[in-house]
């Protein structure tokens, strides 16, 4: 078995204690379900002296309807999110994405907060210390070259969090807390195109809850995931769709893709084409074709994660269409 490095664990009981605890030792990290950070620790991708465990912080649990819409505590497990009737009804795309994360045991442990905050992934990076050392490491950790883009100076490790795509289509707002207080950030504003750290908040910002605005709830939603196996595997391509349909007309549409590059990517140009068309009409079918074509142009998978990137590219229009059509089922 790979050995765990040694670290201290702090167990705060409140958000205030948690944001205080994380500052006590430089380089500390939060641990929620541990399903991402534990393997990463074993691979020596992180070497924190201290972990702040969140499973005792009651405030960041719970799924409830609020004035704003729907509040999902960051510590809720993916299993809870996937099986929660409110989420199934009001945010079917999120339930679908949660259901497709890894496998059942990992969804029991893994949290939605941890999924949002997931580290980016790369086939040259998510490997053991020995493995990475054999090829001289890479930019993201311990090295100074990129094995994906020759001569590249920027890390392009892929955002691989399935639920991020669905949360983007729902325009989720993320509530963070730190020593300065609390802030809310629209999910699309969270990301930056840097595979080393793809978020604009830092590792010491505590994700407290995810808020879904009421206006976008109770619409159609789906998530389509390309992967080699029907369980366990991270996405090779992930596409979330949300559709608002009234009187058979597409009132609103949102699409977002993950597992391409460092940040999840909303496909606004593509989704806009469908708005205003009548489902099933020629105009809708034409718009759908154009939407898939634009998306295929915009999305250029790189050889950053396993699998044939040309094939991943070929699947973009197929998965866009399937994601949209499955909203209509």
């Amino acid at each position: 078995m790979l050995r765990m490095p040694k670290f201290k664990v702090l167990n705060p009981a409140t958000v205030a204690e948690a944001v205080d605890a994380i500052q006590q030792v430089e380089g500390s990290r939060f641990i929620a379900g541990g399903t991402d950070i534990n393997p990463n620790l074993k691979h020596r991708l992180l070497e924190p002296e201290c972990l702040v465990a969140l499973n005792g912080v009651e405030e960041i649990f719970g799924i409830s309807q609020t004035e704003f819409g729907l509040r999902i505590g960051a510590m809720e497990s993916l299993t809870n999110v996937e099986t929660n009737t409110l989420i199934q009804q009001l945010a079917p795309g999120l339930a679908s994405a949660s259901r497709q994360v890894s496998g059942p045991q990992l969804r029991n442990m893994g949290t939605i907060g941890g999924n949002v905050m997931l580290d980016t992934r790369c086939k040259w990076y998510n490997q053991t210390y020995f493995w990475r050392k054999s090829l001289g490491f890479c930019l993201k950790k311990d090295g100074d070259v990129c094995h994906v883009i020759k001569g590249g100076s920027k890390c392009v490790a892929a955002a691989s969090n399935d639920t991020a795509a669905a949360l983007s289509t729902l325009q989720a707002e993320l509530e963070f807390a730190n020593a300065q207080g609390s802030t809310r950030i629209a999910i699309d504003k969270l990301w930056q195109a840097d595979g080393i750290w793809n978020k604009k908040v830092g590792p010491h910002d505590l994700l407290v809850a995810i808020h879904l605005p009421a206006a976008l709830l109770n619409q159609k939603g789906s998530y389509k995931k390309l992967r080699d196996r029907n369980s366990i595997d991270f996405p090779l391509l992930g596409i979330a769709a949300r559709l608002k349909i009234s009187d058979n007309i597409v009132d609103d549409c949102a699409l977002c893709v993950v597992a391409l590059q460092a940040r999840p990517w909303p496909l606004d140009k593509a989704s806009a084409l469908l708005i205003g068309t009548t489902v099933g009409s020629d105009a809708f079918n034409e718009a759908l074709k154009a939407c898939c074509a634009i998306a295929a142009k915009q999305c250029r998978p790189m050889p950053n994660i396993p699998g044939d990137h040309a094939y991943r590219h070929a699947m973009v229009p197929v998965f866009i269409r399937r994601a949209i059509l499955s909203c209509l089922d």
Binding site: M1, L2, R3, K6, G103, K123, N126, Q127, T128, F130, W131, K133, S134, L135, L226, D228, R229, N230, S231, I232, D233, F234, P306, D308, A310, Y311, A314, M315, V318
Partner: protein, 779 residues
């Protein structure tokens, strides 16, 4: 010698089987289900140290120097070991010893072992390994098999007589192959490729060694061949084998991946000797990937000639086999790649030309269906193409070319029982073949393939005339029968099989038998769990020993009751007098009566193969006392937009001779089929451009989950082999082979594309579909 006696396939007491053929519980089922079973890593001895290996980060390099001083100085380090301390080379095949425990002069792949440390705990051992300084001089890396073929310099093994990178070359021709081409009604010729895959047994390799003050070594190891480990230890450590004890605890799967002697077995032994403490080494999953010994990738060229009625007139094969950095079983692999194809169909003329080369990647070796899964794939796809071109039903063409039973193959293999036709009948009926083949909607299809495999071979790895399998029985006054066998139970159930055979033969209940296995101090030699030899050989040896003991008991009881021996019958542990209903003895009483007459009770039994094989160099490699036969039918559904292949259902019929326990046989048939089907499009032992394994973890190496496996219907065909234990043959490897070509042939039926290069990724499916559309459009 009793070993060569035919026991006959019939029930020993003449009134039907009592234990054999019944779905009995495995002898270790409860211990495994409750977690009570002890595996090597469960063993912990007082003062035990933990050890770790420093591995090469280079694919091919000379070692200029190794400095271990800093590691030795680290607190908690008890011993450090480098290659020069154990310079004697070893290898499972005695003709090709090319492995060192730790590199002496050079490293040959990324992950090759360089030095080892024993320390108070694993963390300290890892830290110490990092402190070892190794100076390397990089050499050109031999990446591909083609490169190895044409690049003699630098030779990966430069101490061999021949300065080249060819590990083994075999060329054999039977009949006149080229002469058939002109007369043939049809010639089909193509290239095929089978990629490398690995075993992924759930238990990683582990060893614990302790050197006693009396100079005796005990090694517990997760091996599937205690005997060869025993021999290799004696050779490399230059020790009297009588002072070495090798014990195999429960093993969490082998599939061929634990059939070589491995460095950790020698390392723990030496580190224990140096430190004076017991030493354990447990590999990480990554290290298991580097140890590999998995399926060789093969580039294969096949040409089949046939008459218009479908009769095969010749088969010609040329194979290039990527062996990786060491020989392992490679000599045998190279022979098997040609020798095992000559059934279940008659080949009137056959030639193969197989070359195994060395490359700078982890060594390949035997994986379930050793050496013959790859050629079987290529040939069965080609045979399907012959059928299509001649417009013959693929099942019919297989019947048409049936080899027959009690015959000899073109390359001189003796065939006894052969239930292949029954296998074809069974899958044809179960799958409703006739109403499906060429009749299903576009995108769905059905395909068939057949195969045969050995039940052990008469090539005992190292030449000797002693039995291949031995069993010893101890009959106790308590009523317990203890069976000592060198056979390695690696989860397949061989200990259970031994108990069933002894129970049946003696007329007692399997519960009153204890099996002690795979402990070289206690058990008679068996050559190990490989080549599907255990049931056939150990089963026969067990029957041999039990029959001798039964004869003694019957004789003693007959004398005691003053009746004829024919009147004594043991049923379920009670001895009956057939002449007198009133008179019975319990098993225990009968044992007492027998011991009074014969003194302390024990018996031995053994098995050796009859003389087999063709009269030419290599003619005994692949010659088996009995062959199993299999046929698979697969049904697939192809997503023509994504190229994804869904195998909906597989029907598999396997001729195992007699099913000693039908549940265990079905388990083996299903397990083999799953494993084979997973090699079609999921599993791929892939190297990246740095000659480093692309993703040595269970996340990146895609073994199927329950959601990725087809429904399987396992059908047992019993041909009752005249020489097998109660008629049994193998069931552990044969039923893997034809799963793969059956899926390939089903894909052709579904969408009309012939895929010849594994793995069949969705991208390849899409490319082939596109090509087909272009051809159709052009036409």
């Amino acid at each position: 010698m009793a070993a060569r006696d035919k026991h006959g396939p019939d029930a020993p007491w003449g009134d039907g089987f009592k234990v054999i053929g019944k779905p009995n519980r495995k002898v270790d089922a409860l211990a495994k289900a409750t977690g009570e079973a002890i595996y090597t890593d469960d063993i912990s001895l007082p003062n035990m140290l933990h050890s770790k290996t420093l591995r090469s980060p280079h694919a091919h390099a000379k070692i200029l120097s190794i400095d271990t001083s800093k590691a030795e100085a680290l607190e908690g380090v008890y011993a450090v070991l480098v290659g020069s301390e154990l310079p004697i080379k070893y290898g499972v095949i005695p003709w090709t010893p090319d492995e060192n425990v730790l590199a002496t002069d050079k490293v040959r792949f990324i992950g090759d072992e360089v030095a080892a440390v024993a320390a108070i705990d694993e963390d300290t051992a890892i830290e110490a390994c990092e402190l070892i300084e190794v100076e390397y001089e990089l050499l050109e890396t031999i990446v591909t098999a083609e490169q190895a073929l044409v690049t003699p310099e630098p030779p990966i093994h430069d101490d061999r007589k021949k300065r080249n990178n060819i590990s083994k070359h075999v060329e054999l021709e039977f009949g006149d192959v080229d002469a058939q081409v002109d007369d043939a009604d049809l010639v089909v010729e193509n290239d095929y490729y089978f990629h490398s895959t690995t075993h992924t047994a759930i238990e990683p390799h582990c060893a614990v060694a302790t050197f006693g003050n009396d100079g005796r070594l005990t090694l517990w190891s997760s091996t599937q061949i205690t005997h060869y480990v025993h021999r290799a230890l004696s050779r490399v450590l230059e020790m009297d084998p009588a002072k070495i004890r090798v014990i195999q605890p429960n093993v969490g799967g082998g599939f061929g991946g634990k059939s070589d002697p491995f460095a950790l077995e020698f390392i723990t032994a030496m580190l224990s000797k140096k430190s004076g403490r017991p030493v354990k080494m447990l590999w990480t999953r990554e290290e298991v990937f580097y140890a590999h010994r998995g399926r060789h990738s093969m580039q294969m060229h096949y040409r089949t000639t046939a008459k218009s009625d479908g009769t095969i007139t010749s088969v010609d094969a040329k194979l290039l086999i990527d062996g990786g950095a060491y020989s392992s079983f490679g000599l045998v692999t190279t022979y098997y790649s040609g020798q095992l194809l000559t059934g279940p169909y008659a080949f009137p003329n056959y030639r193969f030309d197989s070359t195994r080369v060395f490359t700078n990647r982890p060594p390949c070796g035997p994986k379930r269906g050793h050496g013959s899964v790859q050629p079987r794939f290529a040939f069965e796809v080609q045979l399907d193409e012959v059928a299509t071109k001649l417009d013959i039903d693929p099942i019919e063409i297989r019947r048409k070319n049936f080899l027959g039973e009690n015959t000899t193959t073109i390359n001189g293999q003796r065939i006894t029982s052969n239930g292949f036709l029954e296998c074809l009948d069974a899958v044809e009926e179960a799958s409703d073949w006739k109403s499906k083949h060429r009749k299903m909607r576009y995108g769905t299809g059905i395909g068939v393939a057949g195969s045969m495999y050995i039940s052990g071979t008469n090539y005992p790895v190292y030449p000797n005339k002693m039995p291949q399998a031995g069993v010893q029985l101890k009959v106790d006054r308590s009523g317990l029968v203890t069976v000592f066998t060198g056979g390695n139970d690696i989860g397949q159930g061989s200990n259970s099989m031994v108990a069933y055979c002894v129970a049946e033969e003696m007329g007692i209940n399997p519960d009153s038998i204890k099996v002690v296995a795979a402990d070289t101090d206690l058990c008679p030699v068996d050559l190990g769990a490989y080549s599907s030899r255990v049931t056939f050989m150990v089963g026969n040896a067990a029957i041999d020993a039990a029959r001798k003991m039964r004869n003694k008991i019957v004789e003693a009881v007959a004398e005691h009751w003053k009746v004829e021996k024919e009147s004594v019958r043991i049923i379920d542990g009670t001895v009956y007098n057939l002449d007198n209903d009133e008179e019975t003895l319990s098993q225990r009483e009968a044992f007492h009566v027998t011991e009074e007459k014969f003194d302390t009770l024990g018996s031995t039994g053994s098995y050796n193969t009859p003389t087999l094989g063709g009269d030419y160099r290599g003619g005994t490699i692949g010659s088996s006392p009995a062959y199993s036969f299999t046929s698979h039918v697969a049904e697939v559904d192809i997503d023509t937009e994504t190229g994804e292949i869904e195998v909906k259902k597989i029907w598999v019929a396997h001729d195992c001779g007699r099913a000693l326990n039908p549940i265990l046989v079905k388990g083996q048939i299903e397990g083999s089929t799953y494993m084979g089907a997973a090699e079609v499009s999921l599993e791929n032992y892939e190297m990246n451009r740095f000659s480093l394994h692309a993703g040595p973890s269970l996340l990146d190496y895609r073994i199927p989950t329950t959601l990725d496996t087809a429904e399987i219907e396992a059908l047992i065909v019993e041909s009752i082999d005249p020489e097998g234990p109660y008629g049994a043959k193998e069931a552990g490897e044969g039923p893997l082979h034809s799963a793969i070509p059956a899926v390939a042939n089903a894909i052709y039926d579904a969408v009309g594309i012939r895929l010849r290069e594994l793995p069949f990724t969705p991208a390849k499916v899409l490319a082939a579909l596109k090509e087909k559309d272009e051809v159709t459009a052009d036409a």
